[in-house]
Structures are given as structure tokens and as C-alpha cells.
Amino acid sequence: MTIMNMVQALNSAMDVMLARDSSVVVLGEDVGYFGGVFRVTDALQKKYGAHRVLDTPIAEGGIVGAAIGMGVNGLRPVAEIQFADYIYPAYDQIVSELARLRYRSAAAFTAPLTIRTPCGGGIRGGQTHSQSPEGVFAHVSGIKTVMPSNPYDAKGLLIAAIEDDDPVIFFEPKRLYNGPFDGDPERPAQAWTNHPMAEVPEGYYRLEIGKAAVARAGGAVTMVTYGTMVHVCIAAAEAEGIDAEVIDIRSMMPLDIDTIAQSVEKTGRCLIAHEATRFAGFGAELSASIQEHCFWSLEAPIARVAGWDTPYPHAFEWHYFPGKQRVRRSLRQLMQIEG
């Protein structure tokens, strides 16, 4: 075991897979010599060569299109889209091609791609470096969508994604790269050093994609969340002194509804939190599924805390971000409803 931050854990996952499987290649803008703008692919090109860790032209549609072709021809590409905000030029290749290739060819052709991309706000990135588009992709049949919230999960899930024969979009909450974040911008930045989930095996291990984790056990209310908001929800529950169970879903598709339903049936109350905009966000799917599974156990309407339905504003980042105060308030309101 070594202490790793999320950047190191993700780097280690690719390192392990490049060494284990000669069909694995890494490609993306600035990922080679430079090691990526967030350093996630640091030193991989030096170790595995420029034919396996490729700097690409600035063309996200080209990156994904070419990666599909490589995947069809026997490679297992890990493509990086530098910011999730820049994934849309590749949208057609992802939605019309990657997601449906197996289906349309009756499995004659498949492309086992992993698309890694940093997402989320909290770094003063403005509208083009802060988006959380997981809901847009979770809506597309044929791809899996994953978002880890800590180094241990990041490595285990990225290895699983690379080994998965279905395409996976792997969202990396960039605010968590260097430390957990409880949603309070006034507090000094925390490092991963003392976090239990920063203890990461150096070698190979994988976690199953589609299994939620109980990030905090509790009995009074279930908080269903993922990514940066896992840490915000834990901090909010602790600040309120509420015995909340926090469930980190870790993947949107497949969705581990059993773990969620078990918890909600126990607590009778549920709050859903994500950074992405609320309207038709992934929280809507969560809310509908939980209602379908747990209607007779619910003691209060399901609450949702999310980003406001506007583009991500630069100056109002902390008014926009669904931080600790907003989660606490919603949690209090939810607990006050008579069951």
C-alpha cells in the first residue's frame, strides 16, 4: 500500500495496464511528453514509448473516432478528453458510433474504449472548465458512465474500465485530484494524505463497475451522491449531527439500485446531491428509480440538491456550487418533515 492522491492513483492504473496488456494505448492532447495538463499521464510515454502513449492533434472528434478504429482493430485505447467541457466535438462519435457499434453490427464489431475526462467545478474554471455532463452520457444506451470520489476507487475502477469490453466514460472530479473537498472554499485545501481511501495498492486490482459504496453508514436518512459531492454530503451530515448514510453510487450506468433501495427502505428518507444542473440531471433518474423501488418506505418526498440551471458562472462559483450550506439546509428540511 502507498499513499496516493487521485492523480497518482489514475496514473498507476494506466501504468499497470500498459505493462500487463500490450493492446492498451493511451492517447489525447498533451498526454505524451508533457504528461497531461493535470499530470495524470506523467512519465507514461517515457516508459512505454510514443507508439503506446500518443500526443494527438486538438480534435476531440478525431481522438474518439480514431480510438474507435483502434479498438475495432484489436487495441484497448484509453483516450483523454482534456476537460469534459471539450467533449462535445466527439459527441457524434460517442453517441452515434461508439455506443451503438455492438448493437448495429450484431456484435460483429466492438470497440472497448475508455474515455477519461476531468469534470466538475470548484477551481474557478468558468463555464468552459467546470461542467458535469455525466447525465448527458448516462442517457445514452450502450455506454457505461463512472465517476470515482477517491484514489482507491479511481484506480480500481479505471482498471475495470480499461478491461471492460463495453465503452466506458470515466469522469474524474478535478477538484478531488489533489485532495478531498467538503464544499467549503474558505477552508485551506486538504491533501489526500490522511484519508483512508488514499491507501492504494501499487499493483493490479479492480473494482466492479456498477457497485455503489456506503461512504458513511447511518440510519436516519440516505444521501445518494457521487464525485465531489460525496465529501460535501459527509461534511454536511456531520455538521448537522445527523445519522445519515451516504451512498457513493460510483457509476451512473450500471446503477446499483439494490444498495440504494436497501438503505432508503431502512431510513425512509432520501436526499440526492450532484454538482450538475438539476433539470433533467442524473438526480431525476435516481429520484424516479428510488420512488419506484421504495415508495412504501418513504416518509418524506425525495429531496434534490444540485447546481442551478444556468451555465457555470466564473464570479459566482460559490453561489452556484451546491456546497455544504445548501446540503445542510436541505437535510434539515428533510428531517423536519413528519413521517
Binding site: E29, F34, P57, A59, G126, T128, W308, F316
Partner: protein, 409 residues
Amino acid sequence: MSEPKLHVPAVPARPGETPDFSYVNLAPAGAVMKPDPRVPVAETVALAESLIRVLDEQGKACGPWNPKLSPDRLIVGLREMLLTRVFDDRMQRTQRQGRITFYIRSYGEEAVSVAAAAALARSDMLFPSYRNQGLFIARGVSLVELMCQLLSNTRDMCKGRQLPVMYHAAEENIFSLSGNLATQFPQAVGWSMAAAIKGESRIAAAWIGEGSTAAADFHHALTFAKVYKAPVILNVVNNQWAISTFQGYAGGEQRSFAARGPGVGIAGLRVDGNDYLAVYAATQWAAERARCGEGATLIELVTYRAGAHSTSDDPTRYRPREEFAEWPLGDPAERLKQHLIQLGAWSESQHAALLAELEETVATAWKQAMAYGTLSEGPKLDPKLMFSDVYKNMPEHLRLQCEQMEREA
């Protein structure tokens, strides 16, 4: 028979190695012929591979592309370039001090923006990239206005919504900047198509970096420009570096970027981007071609990104520190200064006085801008502004969210 092998573009020099610009195809100043702007596209093929230059090593203007501008006009150009540079340096420092969150300098490529703005009509529409602040400065947008955007303060033209440098200037006919690359290229083509549809003589001009020519939008723009003979100037600023990847990764090996123009069916010019006179003349030529109905021109401006990509970048990790000193096309401001001195219209002491005056101008503007607030101090924008302009009329769910935010503040 040899096996096919994947080609990986070879970077000329990495940190610790000697800078090597032998790959840059040069031509002496004055060597390239200047055809009538109405020539068929095929006659620009050679222009797209050669290098249009006016200023020679001694600072003398030569050849058919010399636009023969008055010394007064050139002094204005020099002033605008230096103002851009002084502004950039000051804003970079304010970012380091934590006053603004992010900045992008245009150090070393100021001529690209400033000379083009001078050659175009004020009514022509400009579609900049994030390294074209010189267009805003040359069109007279006030420094205070630009600084207020950088500060996201109470006078911010973007009402706090945009990352620093994502300006716009509707009055001055400069489009809103996007952080997404190359998107403005087809938009500029469409804008110019609308001008043609309406029978106006206005044209559009757009700028992207050579790295962005890889984006599909670059190719969309060229195709639409060709099909409709759109009155547009499409500029590719080849500053050699796209963050850490050199121009070979955008396809610059063997073939020039300008050659994509004739390849698609529009005129192409390859121009010394650090030569104020050459940039002016090429822009003027392309503008005339567009205005007389002969369609678009793709101009490659060969220059060097002397600074980092942005304040988030550290170029010493991927290229030699000494590269700019070895760059064969020099420094655009130094070259114009040398030319003016050579003409007898300028002196070292005038230059020093101008620099001091510009430092003062920028410092005064900064004080004024700071008075309108910063992200952390002074007056602040109303967070409610976050909810306006999402739609023309605020939908009910946004009105409720806005109320909720206020109630809970």
C-alpha cells in the same frame, strides 16, 4: 519492402537541447511576388508555401508587398503593439498576485492582431481567439473595460459569467470569445455569408491557432467559405506551440497551413507574422479579394508563442528556454521599432518615453478598474445576475431557484 510504421512527429528540441528552427521554411524579405487580388486560387499555391515578408534583417521595407504606410501610421502600430505587451505583462503580474484568476498573454505575436486590425475597416466583423487581445486594443476598447472583465467586477461586460480574457465588444464589431477552440471559424464564415446575402460590403475575419486547425470546425469553415465564396479572411496563427505539442502535431510537417486554402479551393498566403508590414499587406490583399467577390483567403501567420500558453502552464517543462531568442523571425515590436529608426522617424529615447507612458497608462487604468471591485474585495456583482440571460425571458424554474438562493443567502 519495409513494414509500415507509425510516424510520430519529431519535436525539434526539448528542454536542455539546442533550439532548432531549421524546419521553418524561410524566404528573404521582398522575394515573393504580389499578384492582383482577383487572381484564380491556383495562382496562390506558391504564395501559400513561401513566406511573404517586407522587413529585412536591417529593418528596411522591400518588395512588392510593402504597403507603404506613413511613419505616423507605423508609430500608431508600434504603440498598439507595445500597449498590448505592457497590458499583458501587468495583467500577468496581477494574476500572480491573486487579483485575477487566470490570464493569457500574446507576447511575441502582437503584430498578428494589431496589423490586421489596422488593415480592415471598422465595420468589418472580427472573430478572435483568446490570444487576440491586440484586436480589442487596436479597436480602441478601453483598458479599464478589459480589466473589469478580468476582475469579474461590477463593471464586467460579461456580468461575472466568463473566465478572464473571454471578452467581447459589440460596438467595436468584435465577437464574444469562447473557450472552445475553432468554433468561431465557421461562425465567421456564416457572418460573412449573411453580409453577402444582405448585399453589404462588410467582411469578416477570424483567428485560430495552428493547433486548432485539427478541429473539425476548421474544415467546416474552409468548405463553407469555398462553396459560397464567402467574403471572409481565415487567419491561422502558427505560433509553433499548442500548449505542449509543437506544430507538427497539427499537421505542419512538410506542408504549410496556408496550403490547406488552395487545397480546398480558396486563396492561401503564408506570411511572416512578426512583420507588421507583411501582416498589414496580406490582410489588405485578402480584404480586397473578399470585397470584390472573389471569396475567402486562408492566411497563415508564422510567429512564435514567446510566453506560456496561459498562467496555468509552464513551458520550461517541454521546450528549451532559449527558443524565443533563437526564433528566426525575431520580435515584432523590435522589428517595427528598428524600421522606424531606420526611416529616421523614431529614436531610442522616443521609444523609452513611449514605454514609460504606456506603463503609466496601464497603471492608471488598473487603479480605476480596481475601484469597481475584485472577486475578493470592494463592491461585488449581484449573484442574481447568474440567472439572467440564460433565456430571453426567465423561465419559472429559474425564477424559483433565484428566489431560493436569495432566501438562503
